[in-house]
Subunit: 219 residues, 2 copies
DNA sequence: GTCTATATTATGATAGAC
DNA sequence: GTCTATCATAATATAGAC
């Protein structure tokens, strides 16, 4: 729990709704600040300045600066997971789903580079996400692992693809593409620039690493 | 030029040598601080504290905090380039040289994660390296490009490997491996953990992406 | 080249009036 | 839930004594 406990959270109450809006606004501003000044550049003072209030007011919504980081992390994980899950569900299980999920992930991460770094690069040494905030990442791993297993079962990849190693390889490919894009082409959206268009080609190499048994040729 | 101009740099002078030693010591401490507190956690005050002097003394050696970053960047680039060049020169030109160079690079980067991030991840928004400090990176690109061209010429890879795209793919593979190792297994040296052992396998996929012409089979 | 002293600015966080 | 006032701390950087 990152937010301060609500004073009297009668559901549907106008005050509670207004409060929630302010919380969202704070988090949106925090994301802006991180994007402009680096993930480490986030400060309560700067958020207050942009929100048009004085710093003490922020503490009515969040207990500390680290609590803001934690809320950003937790929401980032949840949103990112949902983006990926939705994209995967719309595609054919197996390699297609994996590619669709990772492309959606990349698109979102390049559009939210600060949150992306917070989620996957750990740039704030003093910030350790709570275990609740980490939970969606377990589910994300499960999704990708399932897609690899589906691909192996469908004969798109060899049996070796249903493995932790293949999962690590996938994470290396994706984080490599996104990391290079962020560092060298900041601001460019997914699909543009030198790096993000490489992902499909790189995912194709999974078939070279884990070749399917050359059984009956598929249509 | 990051360092302050020396007062009377008669070559071989004892004072100049002592001064140089202090500069080295400051940079070594700065690397420690970045490693412990994040690249952004570097501060003149902390360096002074660890060196056992007061902050103003640091300014006799460096004009500003950014000047320290610039010196770290410049030395990091030079050292990293030399490591890679040496490793490549000891191997057979082509894929072997590329793999040897990248492995040496990975080993050094994991041993100097803070400098590595400073060089290739741009985590300090207010710091822009000078063009002199960037120069070695041009040479590094040239080395890798040459290795790819050699591999193509030797028939280890197809002609398509002698291309910028292949260079970008290589950088994605390497930065992906190193980034994942740094973020998820900090402190582990090259060769241990889940990620760095994947690099040879991943480099092997270059042959799948840029298959050599199936001419006379090589021994 | 070291220090003390200081200017300036910023931070996270709390107490308490309104 | 807002503010003012304040505490405690830390930062970069400079002036000037020694």
């Amino acid at each position: 729990m990152a937010e301060v406990t609500a004073p009297a959270p009668a559901p549907g109450d106008r005050r509670a709704r207004r409060r929630q809006e302010t919380i969202e606004e704070i988090l949106a501003i925090a994301d802006d600040v991180m994007t402009e000044e680096g993930v480490n550049g986030l400060s309560v003072s700067e958020v207050a300045r942009r929100l048009g209030v004085k710093p003490p007011s922020i503490y009515k919504y969040f207990d500390s600066l680290l609590a803001i980081y934690d809320a950003l992390f937790e929401r980032g994980q949840r949103t990112h997971l949902e983006i990926m899950r939705t994209a995967m569900a719309r595609a054919e299980p197996g390699l297609d789903a994996l590619a669709a999920g990772l492309a959606a992930s990349g698109r979102w991460l390049l559009a939210h580079p600060a949150t992306g770094q917070l989620l996957f690069w750990r740039p704030v040494p003093s910030f350790q996400p709570t275990s609740e905030a980490m939970a969606p990442s377990v589910e994300m791993v499960r999704l990708q692992r399932q897609a690899l297993a589906d691909a192996a079962a469908a004969g798109q990849l060899g049996a070796g693809a249903d493995s932790d190693e293949a999962l690590w390889v996938t994470s290396v490919l994706v984080s490599g593409v996104i990391g290079q894009a962020m560092a060298n082409e900041p601001g460019l959206p997914w699909g543009e620039g030198r790096f993000s268009p490489l992902l499909p080609k790189l995912l194709g190499t999974l078939a070279a690493l884990y070749p399917p048994k050359p059984s009956r040729r598929r249509s």
